[in-house]
């Protein structure tokens, strides 16, 4: 859109410029030089804006580059290899003599143990529990808000969800640690006060707004004529929401769930505070758990810069980055599929 006006600008002022310069050939022409200056500013602004707009690209590139730079010695450094290699992180190791090989994450013991599996299982376990809590609540809430609720209810629920989204995760972590954990323990008679279920519910609270907002967007994107057709066939509002709108919006809702899962895996403060942080290789949800982000957060403060442990923590960072980017990409793909299915062109 900017091409046309600037062209017409050049023509309009170009004529003026030559006419006035012909009239006063010897003296410098203030009007013409002012115009030249304005045009120069315009050109410079365009360059500067384009340049600064590249910051986002640079940021993503630098994040990849500098995480990889600190993680790279895991492949090449002999000093790091004395303690840990990629193979030792992936496969079970005979950590104790005379015992079968097993997985363990104990980086500050006499023989540092760096198995990834307990952390990965822990990360997925907590994120799954977060989903089990958040998906029904958020999706049902979104259906109710966008399809069934009267306007006044909608105007309460949507800002409330934004308020929930705006609560810092450290505050949620605090609440889960101080209040929720004790109540849940009393309620279910759990052995450990801080465990996977508690941390998972806390995480669920952070991803409810994500899933709710995106699901609601997907539901509102369903064309009105779908609903009208269902009403014309005699379906009630509820039946229409359940049998027509929800299936039509399903790729968008799935995108919301995938994105929520990615968020849950990457969230740090809540699991750091409320999960108990024990790296146990188990799918039992009543045990304490240690996730990848919580491990980075808890251990990075005490490691030697450039040492094996430091390198391993950056490897974890790279892993986390790739996982979340993967889940984001998957989610974006489902959003595009939703748009295609609903016949939009954007």
């Amino acid at each position: 859109m900017e091409g046309v006006p600037s062209e017409s600008l050049r023509e309009g002022f170009g004529g003026l410029e030559t006419a006035s310069s012909r009239a006063a050939a010897a003296t410098p022409d203030p009007a013409g030089s002012r115009l030249r200056r304005r045009k120069a500013i315009d050109r410079a602004a365009r360059w500067i804006i384009t340049l600064i707009a590249s910051t986002a690209i640079a940021a993503v590139a630098l994040i990849f580059l500098f995480l990889a730079r600190e993680a790279f010695p895991i492949l090449t450094s002999a000093a790091v290899h004395e303690e840990v290699t990629l193979g030792k992180m992936i496969f079970p190791q005979p950590w104790r003599e005379g015992e079968p090989a097993y997985y363990a994450w104990q980086p500050v013991s006499k023989v540092p143990k760096y198995s990834l599996l307990p952390l990965l299982v822990g990360t997925f376990k907590v994120a799954l529990i977060a989903l089990i809590f958040a998906v029904p609540v958020a999706v049902l809430g979104a259906v109710f808000t966008s399809e069934l609720a009267p306007r006044r209810v909608r105007e309460i629920v949507k800002p409330a969800v934004e308020l929930l989204a705006g609560i810092p995760s450290v505050v949620l972590g605090f609440f889960v640690l101080m209040v929720l954990a004790t109540h849940l323990q009393d309620l279910f008679g759990l052995q450990y006060r801080l465990n996977t279920i508690v941390a998972g519910i806390g995480l669920g609270l952070t991803i409810v707004p994500v899933i709710f907002t995106l699901s609601e967007d997907a539901l509102t994107a369903v064309p009105q004529r779908y609903r009208e057709a269902a009403f014309a066939l005699g379906a009630s509002r509820t039946r229409t929401a359940w049998s027509v709108v929800l299936p039509a919006a399903s790729p968008g809702i799935f995108a919301a769930i995938v994105l929520g899962f990615g968020r849950a895996m990457g969230e740090t403060m809540i699991v750091l505070m409320a999960s108990g942080n024990a790296a146990i290789l188990s799918w039992d949800p009543t045990l304490p758990v240690r996730t990848v982000p919580a491990t980075i957060a808890a251990e990075m403060g005490e490691v030697v810069v450039g040492g094996p442990h430091w390198t391993v923590l950056f490897v974890l960072g790279v892993l986390l980055l790739l996982l979340t980017i993967g889940f984001n990409g998957l989610s974006g793909w489902y959003v595009r599929r939703l748009r295609q299915r609903l016949g939009g062109t954007s």
Partner: protein
């Protein structure tokens, strides 16, 4: 008749079921807010807000943490708002929507928004501290560690990268609300495209841009994970005055007091007070932004 009855029953059942989703959301929110307000409000006093902590964090106030948070977020805002606004201007005013470069930037912004905050912490450590900071030290200070350590400036720049997508998305939305005719009128009167942007489009989009800045501040004030190892300190006897100083921070204060205090019961009142202050700061800013945006949407349909 029986059919109709069953139909009505299933209708009511589903309406109740989906309504319960909303009830759970509102219930959780209310529970959290009520608990924190009831326990935190008695703590708030002039002394609490203006005094440093005493007696191993069991008495006194949290002024240094408030000061550090405000300073951190201020520096972050100075860094992120110009860059974010200019990026949005490029995407919405200069680039064609299908141009490859614009799509690349959009992809980068989308991914940036999805990167976990702890990864930003690692990035701040690996790039700002180890690379930029150590680089400055070896060039200008002969290897003496001045800039190459956790510091206010690095934490705020890390947060600026983290909140960049917030500002970009909000600014683009603000630019969309400015009618196309206004730009065309400016151009027709002889403005260069940049003058049209500077004198017409940006002033009209200003409230929306402000909303984005407020949202970024609210987000930045609440993030704790990225500053864990880029500059936050549990206790400092002095206030930060230089970019290379460390700082105290409300979120970090809550984290350390809640998880590493030797006597949780003794610090509990102060802890609740700190949480309430943090929540009030972020929620008030957030509420302000939400209100501004709803108002803007109403006036510019």
């Amino acid at each position: 008749m029986i059919e109709a009855k069953r139909y009505r029953k299933s209708t009511i059942a589903f309406a109740t079921l989906s309504g319960s989703g909303v009830v759970v959301i509102l219930g959780c929110l209310a529970l959290i807010l009520v608990d924190i307000f009831v326990n935190g409000l008695p703590q708030l006093s002039w002394e609490f807000l203006t005094q440093p902590p005493r007696d191993g964090m069991t008495a006194g106030g949290i002024f240094p943490a408030i000061f550090g948070t405000v300073l951190l977020v201020l520096l972050m805002t100075i860094a992120v708002v110009p860059v974010g606004v200019i990026t949005a201007v490029f995407l919405h005013e200069y680039a064609r929507p299908d141009a490859w470069y614009a799509r690349l930037i959009r992809g980068a912004v989308y991914n940036l928004a999805g990167i976990p905050s702890i990864v930003f912490g690692l990035f701040g450590l690996g790039f700002f501290i180890q690379f930029v900071g150590r680089g400055i030290d070896s060039w200008f200070f002969g290897g003496e560690v001045v800039w190459g350590q956790p510091a206010l400036i690095w934490a705020s720049l890390t947060l600026a990268v983290l909140t960049l997508p917030v500002v970009i998305v909000a600014t683009e939305e603000a630019l969309r609300t400015v009618p196309r005719e206004n730009r065309e009128a400016a151009l027709a009167l002889g403005c260069t495209p940049f003058e049209a942007l500077w004198k017409v489009t940006l002033p009209q989009a200003a409230p929306g841009i402000l909303t984005g800045a407020i949202l970024a501040v609210s987000r930045g004030a609440g993030e704790t994970a990225p500053i864990l190892f880029t500059g936050a300190a549990y206790f400092l006897p002095y206030l930060p005055t230089h970019p290379t100083d460390q700082f105290m921070h409300l979120g970090y204060h809550v984290y350390v007091m809640a998880t590493q205090s030797p006597d949780v019961e003794a610090t509990k009142p102060i802890l609740y007070g700190t949480v309430l202050v943090l929540l009030l700061v972020t929620a008030a800013l957030n509420g302000l932004a939400v209100w501004l945006r709803y108002r803007l949407r109403r006036t510019n349909p």
